[in-house]
């Protein structure tokens, strides 16, 4: 009876044609769906967290089927570190921007003095901006945790 690890060593990930062909077609659609879920958080179930995890799952799928090195080629480790700090940074930046323009922290209506859209509309737009930040942050953290766990710290050879 072969073990899971023995099989994976011999049957290398980049030689499994059916999986590779199917996943190569699927990944752009999964990413598009993830972006759709983030952007339509106002009008349907969804929002930043759900869309961010779907986006991360698309790249985890790439790492599973094509190997960890292929996903490193797609989003390198330094780019992932930058993206992961970008999420909380966007949130705090918008909060401080609201203070600079006269309101409280995360008081989106105070941004009305830059571009006059209306107090209610700015609240809707402010929620949209922070949801974008949340989505990007969650995507990169899920990818990072998966890479570290599946390679046991070495970032060399995944599942």
């Amino acid at each position: 009876m072969r073990t899971l690890q023995q099989d994976a060593h011999i049957r290398m990930p980049w030689q499994d044609m059916i999986l590779q062909t199917a996943v190569r077609v699927l990944i752009p659609f999964i990413q598009l769906f993830g972006l759709y879920v983030i952007v339509h958080g106002h009008y349907s179930p969804g929002g930043g967290f759900q869309g961010g995890v779907i986006l991360g799952a698309a790249i985890i799928l790439m790492a599973l089927v094509f190997g960890l090195r292929a996903s490193m080629h797609y989003i390198s480790e330094n780019a992932n570190k930058t993206l992961s700090i970008l999420g909380p940074f966007v949130f705090c930046f918008i909060g401080v921007l609201c203070i600079v323009f006269g309101g409280g922290f995360l008081d989106y209506g105070a941004l009305d003095s830059i571009i006059p859209l209306g107090w209610n509309e700015w609240r809707s737009f402010g929620i949209f901006l922070v949801e974008l930040g949340v989505g990007v942050g969650v995507m990169s953290i899920m990818l990072r945790i998966y890479r570290v766990l599946s390679s046991a710290g070495t970032m060399d050879k995944g599942l």
Partner: protein
């Protein structure tokens, strides 16, 4: 909120929960746990919590299962295909302690039963959690924020601090995982 569907799903959930705990193989336990997460997602959707059901489906049945399988793959090296967890009940050194966990679970369960008797009836619109602040959100959130999805409006605007610190918690988890498993001499 159809109580027949609810009873059916709850029965399946309890069966999956018992299956996860009592299965010998670790990989089988993880897959049964993924089925448990999917059934939980159906329960949340049936009770009207569509956002929570979406999150549970993606996070609980998707990414969490992948994390478990990745960790199992990296840890049990010289074992057969059915990754077997060593769960021998005779490992307890002191035989008198064998029944203690079950007794503890029963005692805690009995205390919780006693506490739950005070809860409001299921689905009561006039109960305490359903009246004070959430009534304000339901009546005024769309008028003030122009966002039809009440959960997104409360999450992003009225309770924005919670969301910001939740994001910081996720970031700290990512940093912790990297720093726990980093090899010596790697580039940070």
């Amino acid at each position: 909120m159809i109580w027949q569907l609810d009873l059916f799903l709850l029965t399946l959930v309890v069966i999956c929960g018992f299956g996860t705990v009592s299965t010998r193989g670790l990989l089988s336990s993880t897959i049964i746990f993924s089925a448990y997460s999917f059934l939980m997602c159906l329960l949340y959707a049936e009770m009207g919590a569509v956002d929570v059901a979406f999150t549970e489906a993606v996070v609980g049945a998707g990414v969490s299962t992948i994390f478990f399988i990745a960790a199992l793959f990296r840890s049990t090296r010289r074992s057969p295909l059915i990754i077997r967890g060593v769960d021998d009940p005779h490992h307890f050194k002191d035989q008198g302690l064998k029944a203690l966990p079950l007794a503890l679970a029963f005692v805690t369960g009995a205390l919780l039963f006693y506490g739950m008797a005070d809860f409001p009836d299921w689905g009561d619109p006039g109960s305490q959690p359903n009246t004070h602040v959430s009534a304000y959100y339901i009546e005024n959130a769309v008028r003030e924020t122009h966002v039809p999805n009440l959960v997104t409006a409360v999450l992003g605007d009225y309770r924005g601090y919670d969301t910001m610190f939740e994001l910081v918690v996720i970031y700290c988890a990512g940093v912790s995982v990297v720093s726990i498993l980093k090899q010596e001499g790697d580039n940070p």
